[in-house]
């Protein structure tokens, strides 16, 4: 009997499999790390090996210092993979009588002579080959600062924000954050304090070496060990005079990570990664030992400093590798260690097919389909922001047709309230509010413009094309109010990238983005589209005129050089003299070719209905935060483009998919899933929708800021309009374009307000629904049933009816008791949440 068994038996506690897994996890990892390193990896039993691949398969070694690691991957019949670099045998072809041109040591090729050869890897009866060329096996080229020294410092963590990469440096020494300024770093190392940091006469005793190795006191301790490649590169560079890189020095232009995708058949095992850098002269080099690795989901897979991935638990992880200014990643999938049988269910459309493909691959079974009542409530709230009326409930429940869900979605999509929801969402992204000088009049005009545009069928791409190049007075052309939200090119660029491209580029204002591909050049190139926006006070003091000043340049903070406008992740535009840069940008952003825009729109729509984006957060698409289902996102983006950005069609397709209609209840296989859409998410209604639903359920109206009585909260124009309920329940005040402005997390003040505030109690009294129902000669049970249908879109269960009956008998006045029941329903999680 082991300790765990003893624990279970003594306490009587029987953990669920999930809990057990968590409990055992530390032990499992401990065992894994010792066992796996000691024994060769083994595939799951019963699987057939279908392919063997070595990466990279073409290798070129150009100096005596060059080495090349490889990774050999076995792929099995169920799609799972296995790192077999260790057990695979490597046979190097000899050329004639001479020794092989390379030597295979510790899964790495070391050059011996110039020449070429072919290496054959064999594993379980399958072979794969790699071609190796060696040129300059005896060459010792000088060590480059950017290509070798700086990556060594980066990997050692010297230029991180908490060390010398902070804005003011650390302990008197500053480096550019993550090495975005190589020439500046070289200057600071060698000449900022002459004779202090480098000692060319005795390189090993340079302060930079002694500090890095921890030989002398160093706040950061020893970061680079003697004998490592990083140490050798640094010392060798000092020996060679610590020279700056020449103007013609090659520079990295990109990196590749091998293998791009790995599938663990169960939560155990390891996978080696290899990082190759591509250089401006067309050559490639193994930089695995100089790259930085990070995992975006340690619960599924962690990664060591050397790039060795450990499978930890079921799920998907993305391993990010960073070298120089480039970031690239490998997709890691870890299947649960459960017997999986693919469920047979009808496929409703391409969405379901793509989701199912992914689920099958992940060994995940989706939840069952939600009941009609649940679906009716869910889709009504999602589409029109209201509850189904009792009449709609009865009509839908009595409808026996097989396509009644389809009919329901079509009916709802025809309602104008659908567009009000999307006016609100676009208004949040455009940050429509009375701030930064936006007057009440300008706000109303801006809101009215957007409302009329959306209701008249203007799609989001057309809205973008109206907003971005908008010129004129903020009262004359309301779209220009966007340029009052922020008034600097940098902030405008950041907001537009986040809102319309789902990309956060803020980091790149001061340094190259550490987790994405954006550099400072990208940032300022994008910001320079707004460098010629002119602002002028109009005659009306409430109005600001926005115009194309046709002059003014964006300057790069490094060197103050002029920056030419450049699209994010695309080619430079063809700049015509005098043309408004913003016009070019608007054309590009909202074009069909710009997949970032269509993906962003698709992702926003998807997240609205599924509660989580395919990329989540929706406005944070980056290399290190890839989509959970890339094929699905690409499909939805394609549909957006095909539909001419008419999102109603996409909404219809999503609402009719089985994926949307699944229950919120989980099954055994999807207990752990949060991102693969195996089940619906339970979502608290957002503030505006909740208030509208309470008003609807109680048959009351609200006096909302700036709106006539009877308007709905989703129509409030001003993000800063004061309203206690909306503020308490996390309404976006639109102060930033971040989707996180809308808060749906529960708070104590929300609970207290629903319990004690005026909204529920006051509206129950004001609406007098219970009184009216009782007056119409309804029995208490009928009233209770009516309240359930109105608020929860379902009939009370027998147990509930029995309980209600017991409770009501305590009340001398049934009306009072029913009003308390009404209050309790409005306070229940079932009402407040969409499920």
């Amino acid at each position: 009997m082991n300790l765990l068994q003893l624990l279970f038996e003594s306490t009587g506690w029987k953990p669920m499999p999930q809990q057990l897994a968590r409990l055992l996890c530390p032990f499992a990892v401990l065992l894994l790390s010792t066992n796996v390193s000691a024994s060769e990896p083994k595939p799951a039993t019963g699987l057939k090996l279908v392919s063997l691949q070595v990466e990279p398969s073409t290798i070129e070694l150009r100096s005596a210092r060059d080495q090349q690691t490889v990774v050999v991957t076995a792929t099995f019949s169920d799609g799972s993979t296995l790192d077999v670099t260790g057990p695979a045998t490597a046979k190097i072809e000899s050329t004639g009588s001479s020794s092989p041109v390379v030597e295979y040591v510790s899964e790495s090729f070391v050059p011996k002579y110039d020449g070429s050869t072919i290496v054959t890897f064999s594993y379980s009866g399958l072979d794969c080959k790699a071609i190796i060329r060696v040129r300059g096996a005896n060459d010792q080229p000088p060590v480059g600062f950017r290509n070798e020294v700086l990556p060594a410092l980066t990997r050692a963590g010297c230029n991180t924000g908490k060390c010398h990469g902070s804005a003011s440096g650390k302990d008197g020494f500053r480096l550019s954050l993550f090495g975005y300024d190589p020439s500046g770093d070289q200057f600071r190392l060698t000449r900022e304090l002459p004779g202090r940091r480098v000692l060319l006469a005795d390189p090993e005793n340079s302060l930079v070496v002694l500090k890095a190795t921890g030989t002398v006191p160093h706040t950061g301790g020893g970061r680079i060990e003697e004998g490592t490649q990083a140490y050798e590169s640094l010392v060798q560079w000092l020996h060679e005079g610590a020279k700056p890189d020449g103007e013609r020095s090659i520079v990295p232009v990109g990196i590749d990570v091998y293998p791009r995708k790995s599938v663990f058949s169960k939560p155990e095992g390891q996978q080696k990664l290899v990082v190759m850098a591509r250089y401006s002269d067309g050559t490639e080099r193994d930089v695995t030992s100089l790259a930085v690795f990070l995992s975006n989901n340690d619960a599924a897979a962690s990664v060591s400093e050397a790039g060795l991935v450990d499978a930890r638990g079921p799920g998907a992880a993305f391993i990010l590798a960073r070298f120089d200014q480039f970031t690239q990643g490998a997709s890691i999938m870890v299947r649960p260690d459960l017997a999986f049988e693919c469920p047979q269910r009808p496929v409703h459309g391409e969405i379901d097919r793509l989701v199912d493909d992914r689920l099958k691959f992940m060994h995940l079974a989706p939840s069952e389909l939600a009941e009609d009542e649940t679906f009716l409530r869910r889709v009504t709230i999602d589409l029109v922001g209201l509850l189904p009326t009792p009449e709609e409930y009865r009509q839908f429940m009595q409808d026996a047709s097989t396509d009644k869900r389809e009919q329901l979605v079509d009916r709802l999509l025809d309602r104008p309230e659908v567009l009000d929801i999307w006016v609100m969402k676009w208004a949040e992204l455009l940050q429509i509010r009375t701030n930064n000088g936006v007057s009440q009049k300008a706000l109303r005009l801006y809101d009215r413009w957007l409302r009329e545009a959306v209701h008249s069928g203007m799609t989001i791409d057309k809205i973008v094309q109206k907003v971005l190049p908008a010129s004129g007075g903020s009262l004359e052309n309301p779209a220009t109010n966007y340029y009052q939200t922020e008034t600097t090119p940098q902030l405008l660029a950041e907001n537009i990238a986040q809102v319309f491209l789902g990309t956060r580029i803020q980091c790149a204002q001061c340094h190259n983005h550490p987790f994405d591909r954006w550099t400072m050049d990208d940032y300022y190139g994008f910001a320079s589209f707004f460098s010629q926006v002119g602002y002028k006070q109009a005659e009306d003091p409430r109005e600001l005129t926005i115009y194309n000043a046709a002059e003014g340049e964006m300057l790069h903070p490094l060197g103050n050089r002029r920056v030419v406008p450049k699209f994010l992740g695309a080619e430079m535009p063809n700049l015509e003299s005098g043309k408004d840069y913003r016009m070019l940008l608007a054309e590009w952003i909202a074009s069909n070719e710009n997949t970032a825009f269509s993906k962003n729109v698709a992702n926003i729509v998807w997240a609205h209905f599924l509660g989580i984006g395919i990329v989540d957060p929706v406005d944070d698409m980056r290399v290190s935060n890839p989509p959970s289902n890339p094929e699905l996102l690409a499909y939805l983006a394609g549909r957006v483009v095909e539909n001419g950005f008419e999102i109603k069609k996409l909404m219809r397709e999503i609402c009719l998919s089985r994926t949307y209609q699944t229950s919120t209840r989980r099954n055994e296989s999807n207990q752990w899933d949060e991102r693969e859409f195996t089940h619906q998410k339970i979502r608290r209604m957002r503030a505006e929708v909740l208030l509208d639903c309470i008003s609807q359920a109680t048959e009351t109206t609200d006096r909302l800021p700036g709106l006539p009585k009877g308007s709905r909260a989703v129509q409030v124009a001003d993000g800063l309009a004061a309203h206690y309920f909306l503020t308490t329940f996390g309404r976006s005040n639109r102060s930033t374009p971040c989707t996180c402005e809308v808060k749906t997390s529960p708070t104590l003040s929300q609970a207290l307000h629903l319990l004690n505030g005026e909204t529920t109690g006051g509206k129950i009294k004001e609406g007098n629904l219970v009184g009216r129902l009782l007056d119409s000669a309804s029995s208490s049970e009928q009233v209770a049933r009516e309240l359930y249908v109105r608020c929860l879109t379902r009939q009370p269960t027998d147990a509930e009816l029995k309980s209600i009956d017991v409770k009501l008998s305590d009340y001398p006045n049934p009306r009072e008791g029913l009003e308390d029941l009404y209050w309790a329903i409005l306070n229940s999680n079932e009402f407040v949440f969409n499920h």
Partner: protein, 813 residues
């Protein structure tokens, strides 16, 4: 809907009655409903406000509208029966109510050429026939709809008057719908009409068209009035040229419909030579009149057109003064012309465009014949540019004008006047209250005095200015000193005879500047805000050329100084006395203020003379920066509520309810006669060495003195600005003393630190007036913990560095 405006009104009324001095009894005119009348017709308006029972007259600033009869229904409401002459000019007419206690605030009545009809809130869409003016109100989100019938090709025009009524910031939007309900036009603002919209178009088909008016802002309430002209009248969007020469006949072209239609009317006009400046013309076309007059510029200069006269081409060089008219017709286009300076001197180049309804946002650059920029500019108060620069005789200058946003069109017209710079002078009443019209009229109680602060604006002029007043009410005299060249405002004291009855008039003020050979004369120019917007912006205002002066009911007191015979010493004080002459039975407290003091001289903001007291004192303080000289001195008195006044007396006295005393509220302010205040250099000198003490110690401090003969023989000296828990006893000194010694006691818990604002004050009485002088200002006092103070042999406190050096020397290091 809750009527915020009305609540505010009642709140203000109650609050003012409570404090008793804010509205000073003159009639308050809050709102006029409707504020529109028809030319050549009688009409009735309801005036709402406070103290309206006493009004006797409605005083208009311009001819054309008069009030025939006043029907007072309560103190808060009156019916005014008005008549607009058939020759009355269209647009706003400013007026005030005149009562026994003075003039009210200024309001306007707008005259329309059309008959007025009242909107009907019960009717969904009111059908309108012919040209008419609909009067209505709009609350936020109200939409008032009106229907007109038109045949294809007939003109449909509508013009809203919202902000221009001068009542509230009712920013309206007009929408024209065709018979099928589709929107033909939606107009928010029309440049020529400020924030008001107008539309004019030809009906595309026969049928009934709908005109909707709604608010563009969110602040409208039940008192937000509008007038909506509806019909088939001409409603031009633009006029070209934007100016004419006075006394000459000129042809103007009015574009009357959409900008892209060649739909213009030519009209020949001639203005009298005396009418210079921005004027208005009434446009009549085929017997139909545009309901609002159209502004444009009248000058005595030669008028040239940029295109027609080809001034931008060849060797054409203009000779100032000249007015150039043009239109920016193509995007990014710039118009250029040249002029030659006949003399060296200062030239003013002023653009008139935006102010006259043009859409042009002018940017102007002036280059000399070498291509160097002499002057350039963008905005000057409005989008119109005004440049002032020096020219050299016979040099040629090129002027380039373009639109800031590189826009263009038929309505991007401009008028540029180039002329030698003219100097000017004008008088005005400085605003006493930023948010109201308080203090912009003069009310003089019979047999008493009233104060006005008269200001002068000098534009490129320097020198003393004398004020002259024409048309004062009978029995009123004025004491107004010259305004020194270094000042822009003086106190003017109006005095009214005891025998004068209440009356009022609009008084012309002439300001004359005489400096050597330079003489300039200017009139009165007062800007009155009617509609304010956010951040102190003004949406509607009117300019007045005369000052409203009224003689009003007597008040039961007067005030006067006990004439100060001593000067106020620089860095000293002087106590002056105010005496009150009370009528029998008047015992309310009085608040005395000195609204205008010399620079760097101040006193308490308000001095209260309690009920039943007949005098009070004010201590004047002169800063060290005050300048010696003679300055005007006048005090203003405001009657407040008696502190003991109680509506329900104490029953404990057994006397029951006491009769209510005469309320002092609603009384007009009075003032003293004009006196002089002499400020002299300080007659005393003295100094104290820096003081270094320790907590819990006692020290003797010596102050060296040098007093001259003009100070009192006996003085009391003390130290001021000491920190807490440091004590000193005042010491008596004689004028002949050379030193005064103070015993300083420092408590154990006195604050440690350096206090460098200690001053020695010498106070005394001379000629029955309290005076004081300051010496040894900014003496340094250092308080240290026991045993921590460092001094040299002379007792001088040492700085930490000096103490370190001293210790080092003692240690022989």
């Amino acid at each position: 809907m809750i009527n915020n405006r009305r609540i505010l009104f009642w709140f203000c009324t109650i609050a003012c009655c409570g404090c008793g001095h804010a509205i000073c009894g003159n009639p308050s005119l809050e709102l006029v409903t409707p504020s529109v009348g028809t030319r050549g017709c009688e009409f009735k308006v309801v005036a709402r406000g406070a103290s309206l029972k006493s009004i006797r007259q409605v005083v208009f600033y311009d001819p054309g509208v008069r009030c025939e009869r006043i029907e007072t229904t309560s103190d808060e409401q009156a019916m005014l029966h008005m008549v607009a002459d058939s020759q009355c000019s269209l647009g706003p007419h400013a007026f005030r109510l005149l009562g026994d206690n003075g003039f009210s605030e200024l309001r306007t009545i707008t005259i329309s050429p059309f008959p007025t009809i009242q909107e009907d809130k019960e009717t969904d869409k009111l059908f309108v026939q012919g040209n008419c003016t609909v009067l209505g109100t709009l609350e936020s989100d109200d939409v008032d709809s009106f229907q007109v019938q038109a045949k294809a090709g007939e003109r449909i025009s509508a013009e809203a008057v919202g902000v221009r009524l001068g009542v509230s910031l009712l920013d309206t939007t007009l929408t024209l719908r065709d018979p099928s309900g589709l929107v033909l036009k939606r107009i928010d603002d029309t440049p020529m009409l400020n924030q008001d919209p107008a539309l004019s178009t030809l009906a595309p088909v026969d049928g009934i068209y709908t005109i909707e008016i709604t608010t563009a802002g969110a602040n409208a309430d039940a008192d937000s009035q509008y007038a909506l002209h509806i019909g088939n009248f001409p409603r031009p969007y633009s006029v070209f040229p934007l100016g004419v020469r006075a006394g000459c006949e000129s042809e103007l072209s009015f574009t009357s419909s959409d900008m892209d239609e060649a739909d213009s009317t030519q009209k020949r006009i001639q203005f009298d030579s005396g009418l210079i400046g921005t004027r208005h013309i009434e446009l009549i076309e085929n017997g139909l009149i545009c309901p609002s007059p159209i502004p444009f510029r009248v000058s005595t200069f030669d008028q040239v057109r940029h295109d027609a006269d080809r001034v931008g081409t060849g060797d054409c060089v203009l000779m100032p003064p000249v007015a150039v008219h043009g239109v920016i017709r193509k995007p990014g286009e710039a118009n250029t012309f040249r002029f030659a300076a006949q003399h060296s001197g200062t030239v003013c180049l002023e653009v008139f465009a935006s102010r006259l309804g043009s859409l042009l946002d002018a940017v102007v650059e002036v280059r000399d014949q070498n291509g160097r920029t002499v002057s350039s500019g963008d905005d000057f108060d409005s989008h119109d540019t005004r440049l002032v620069f020096e020219t050299i005789a016979n040099e040629t200058y090129a002027v380039t004008i373009r639109d800031k946003r590189k826009n263009s069109g038929a309505n991007y017209s401009y008028c540029i006047e180039v002329s030698p710079l003219q100097s000017s002078i004008s008088a005005f009443l400085p605003r006493r209250n930023k948010l109201s019209q308080a203090g912009q009229t003069i009310a003089i109680p019979t047999g008493n005095r009233a104060l006005a602060l008269m200001g002068v604006r000098r534009d490129r002029l320097e020198g003393d200015v004398a004020m002259a007043f024409e048309g004062l009410p009978e029995g009123v005299s004025i004491d107004c000193p010259r305004i020194a060249s270094s000042a822009f405002v003086v106190p003017a004291v109006f005095t009214c005879d005891t025998s004068t009855s209440t009356s009022g008039s609009l008084v012309a003020v002439n300001a004359t500047l005489q400096s050597g050979a330079t003489k300039a004369v200017g009139g009165f120019e007062q800007i009155v805000d009617l509609v304010n917007g956010p951040a102190d912006s003004i949406f509607q205002m009117t300019s007045l050329d005369r000052m409203a002066v009224a003689t009003v009911n007597p008040v039961p007191y007067s005030i006067e100084f006990v004439k100060p015979t001593l000067p106020l010493s620089v860095d000293g004080t002087l106590e002056i006395t105010i005496q009150v002459q009370r009528d029998t039975g008047f015992d309310a407290p009085l608040d005395i203020t000195l609204p205008l003091l010399p620079d760097w001289v101040d006193c308490q903001a308000k001095t209260r003379i309690p009920a039943n007291k007949d005098s009070g004192t004010i201590t004047l303080r002169a800063n060290r920066a005050a300048k010696a000289g003679i300055w005007p001195l006048v005090a203003e008195g405001t009657a407040g509520l008696a502190e003991s006044t109680s509506e329900t007396g104490s029953t404990a006295t057994g006397l029951g309810l006491r009769p209510r005393r005469r309320s002092a509220d609603s009384m007009t302010n009075v003032c003293t006669s004009l006196h002089s205040l002499a400020v002299c250099d300080s007659p005393v000198k003295g100094d104290i060495d820096p003081i270094s003490v320790e907590q819990g110690s006692k020290v003797e401090i010596a102050c060296r003195l040098e007093l001259n003969e003009s100070v009192p023989e006996k003085l009391v000296a003390t130290l001021e600005e000491l920190p807490n828990r440091v004590h000193v006893i005042a010491v008596q000194v004689m004028r002949t003393d050379k030193t005064v010694k103070f015993q300083l006691k420092i408590d154990d818990d006195a604050p440690i630190g350096t206090f460098d604002s200690v001053v020695c004050r010498l106070s005394g009485v001379l000629e029955n007036q309290n005076v004081s002088y300051s010496v040894a200002r900014n003496t340094k006092l250092i308080i240290a913990a026991p045993g921590a103070s460092q001094k040299d042999e002379s007792g001088r406190p040492l700085s930490p560095l000096e103490a370190l050096r001293l210790r080092k020397n003692k240690q022989g290091l």
